[in-house]
């Protein structure tokens, strides 16, 4: 399984793109405070997403005929790591760009591609993912939300999704639902596209412990969907949904969520750290460089057509642990910071990131589920 980490090679020619993104972020960010950057990829700003779309930095790996840019996964990697390192508010388009667009490209009909991909690439259309339900968390295969095929080919959707990030601010959801009422577990599931403005869709924001309302409960009460709502093959929903996991689990968002806190900490410690401060900061840098190397390695595997799901799960487990460790390091150093504005800002940012940190190892598959996958990959089951 360790063979899934090939040489972490970033191809040449990416530095002009990186410089462009940095220049754009420098112009944009001068008035954007650290307390907002601290939200990382949970910060919502539709204007910002549209600006990225106008720059051509969304849908990078989508073909030009659908509004994309035919770029390599490495270009996408560079753009995204720069956005995340700066704490830019990317959540509006994040899921659509990362998951929904590649899914539609792979499994969607021509009409679905024509309809949704250009809007995603422009930063104007946002998606959420309907996975968890009140009775289905880690045990995702137990989902009960059902779409019943009607005689005219349309679908009748009933059920409830929960913890759906940004459902209240997205136009569409791609939901994993049961389309064969007699089925159990992984069989009989399909992916279905739900227009969230339709009658019968009720969205209730859920306030999280930090006071933010990122996630939602979405209830479907006899929602009527067209025959064209199905994505891909009926009954293949589980395989389709899990086939994108390597993309979801290995990206820079799995180790850069606490980057604003780390940056504040470095600034607040100042140019002449004592030994303890230097060791703590240096350790975070060592892991950051190494996690980035792992993420590049997985990106290279994906670019060459491999499906390194094991390695991707590895990156997510280590990366989210690293993000949470950043909070621990900040806590250990907080009383040693020289007094001043930077120390004050670091305290505020620490409070924000600390409140978000438990979710780092829950979202996108819990740590314990990931480790089960990793153990199975080792031949232990």
């Amino acid at each position: 399984m360790l063979d899934q980490f090939g040489p972490p090679v970033l191809p040449p020619g990416l530095e002009p793109l990186r410089a462009d993104v940095r220049a754009f972020l420098a112009d944009w960010g001068s008035a954007y405070p650290a307390e907002k950057r601290a939200l990382s990829w949970m910060g919502f700003d539709a204007d910002f997403s549209r600006a990225l779309g106008a720059k051509g930095w969304l849908g990078l790996s989508i073909p030009r005929e659908y509004g994309g840019h035919d770029a390599s996964p490495f270009e996408r990697f560079v753009v995204n790591e720069e956005l995340l390192a700066a704490g830019a508010p990317v959540t509006a388009h994040w899921i659509a760009d990362r998951q929904s667009a590649p899914l539609l490209l792979r499994h969607g009909t021509e009409a679905q591609k024509q309809r949704y991909l250009p809007a995603i690439c422009a930063g104007e259309m946002y998606f959420c993912i309907g996975m968890s339900e009140p009775g289905s968390g880690s045990d995702l295969a137990s989902v009960r939300t059902k779409a019943d095929r009607q005689t005219d080919g349309s679908w009748l959707l009933n059920g409830r999704k929960v913890w759906t990030t940004n459902a209240d601010r997205c136009q569409a959801m791609i939901a994993l639902v049961r389309t064969d009422p007699a089925s159990e577990r992984h069989a009989g599931l399909s992916q279905i596209l739900v227009d969230l403005t339709l009658p019968g869709v009720m969205i209730r924001p859920i306030k999280d412990l930090s006071g933010h309302e990122h996630f939602n409960e979405v209830t479907f009460d006899d929602v009527r969907l067209g025959a064209d709502a199905l994505i891909g093959v009926e009954g293949d929903g589980w395989a389709q949904a899990t086939s994108e996991l390597a993309f979801e689990r290995s990206g820079p968002e799995r180790f850069l969520s606490a980057m604003t806190l780390f940056r504040c900490l470095v600034g607040a410690v100042g140019p002449a750290p004592d030994a303890r401060q230097a060791v703590e900061i240096g350790r975070l840098v060592a892991w950051l460089i190494s996690l980035r190397s792992m993420s590049i390695s997985v990106t290279a595997q994906l670019a060459s057509g491999q499906d390194p799901v094991w390695a991707a799960s590895c990156v997510k487990d280590l990366g989210t642990g690293y993000e949470q460790e950043t909070v621990e390091v900040a806590m250990r150093l907080i009383d040693s910071l020289p007094p001043g504005a930077q120390a004050t800002t670091t305290r505020r940012v620490l409070a924000i990131v600390q409140s978000m940190a438990p979710s780092f190892s829950l979202r996108g598959g819990t740590r314990e589920i990931l480790r089960g996958i990793l153990a199975r990959g080792l031949g232990v089951r």
Binding site: A275, A278, S290, S293, L378, V380
Partner: protein
């Protein structure tokens, strides 16, 4: 070349490094047979340019050799010889054709502590900390005080004899080239050992039966094995990055990161492997300790994880918060293709 090197070294070590050979080496016996085969394949000269008699392999190619040495707990200074010869070659000196060669930093007139495999080596590449030059010394007449690391590998104190100098030359190598080079080697050896630990721990968890089923059926054990695997993966990726960026010389930021991460991973990984193997793994008779004691030893050599973390921390702090991210991306920027 990488695949070829990997196949030949792994085949060689699989045949030649048995528990008996390891025990004998620990008792002070030089594995002459193993070293003879290593020289037959030209491996000590792998990183030396072709015009100086080597194979001209890149450090990316060399990585798989050093990692394999770690995985097999190879009781011979092949990683050391590769680095020693490359230090000589980088200064334009021709490496010796045969005989084990190791490296040290210091001066020719003072004892050189903890020289790996010193008692068995014929040659020493000395990075002179006073003059900054690289010198090739013969060790035939050297005074040697024996010592071992926690894994029982020779780490001797060497005092060079008058007239031992064979050749020397100016070098462009960094002042801490030996420390960095040693750290790079040890990080890859730890990555190899951790990979092997992961394999044998998973195998054992599937075999060992308690409470009527293999212990690998228990989630507590599965979760531990997963952590071991992630630590091994981190060490592999971190050390591979260091080798990738070491063209032609070791690169400070990725090397420091590799040693810091691999060292921490070694501590966690060895601990988990011992938990999985239980009491049998704590015996001298079992071969687990050939890997775990080496992980402990290598973690400490050429700078512990805390040592390198502190260096990194000072570098980063001096750049400030605005310099942090650019430094991280520059540490691992566009890759050179040298195949």
């Amino acid at each position: 070349m990488r695949t070829l090197l990997q196949q030949s070294i792994e085949r060689l070590l699989a045949d030649a490094v048995t528990p008996d050979v390891l025990r004998a080496a620990e008792a002070g016996v030089w594995p002459a047979d193993l070293w003879g085969k290593i020289e037959e394949l030209g491996l000590p000269l792998a990183a030396v340019p072709e015009d100086l008699g080597g194979a001209g392999a890149s450090w990316t190619d060399i990585f798989v050799v050093v990692r394999a040495c770690g995985a097999a707990a190879a009781p011979a200074p092949l990683p050391e010889a590769i680095l020693a010869n490359s230090l000589l070659a980088a200064a334009g000196l021709e490496p010796p054709e045969s005989g084990a060669i190791v490296f040290a930093a210091g001066t020719a007139d003072a004892p050189l502590p903890e020289v790996p495999w010193g008692r068995h080596a014929k040659w020493l590449a000395l990075h002179d900390t006073r003059t900054g030059r690289i010198a090739l010394h013969a060790l035939a007449e050297a005074r040697i005080v024996l010592d071992n690391n926690v894994a029982g590998e020779p780490r001797d104190t060497i005092t060079l004899a008058p007239g031992s100098l064979v050749a020397d030359a100016a070098t462009s190598a960094a002042t801490d080239a030996v420390m960095l080079g040693g750290a790079m080697l040890r990080s890859a050896q730890m990555a190899g050992a951790l990979g092997r630990l992961t394999e044998i721990s998973a195998e054992y968890a599937n075999e060992r039966v308690q409470f009527g089923r293999p212990i690998g059926k228990f989630q507590a054990v599965q979760q531990q094995l997963a952590v071991l695997a992630t630590q091994a993966a981190a060490a592999v990726a971190a050390s591979e990055a260091a080798f990738l960026m070491a063209t032609p010389n070791t690169e400070a930021l990725t090397t420091a990161s590799a040693k810091a991460v691999s060292g921490e991973a070694a501590g966690k990984g060895a601990s988990i492997a011992h938990a999985v193997f239980g009491a049998i793994g704590f015996t001298h008779e079992h071969s687990l300790h050939f890997l775990t004691r080496r992980l402990w030893a290598w973690r400490a050599e050429y700078g512990s994880d805390a040592y390198w973390a502190e260096q990194l921390g000072r570098t980063i702090a001096a750049r400030g918060d605005e310099g942090l991210w650019p430094l991280v991306t520059a540490a691992f920027a566009e890759t050179k293709t040298d195949d």
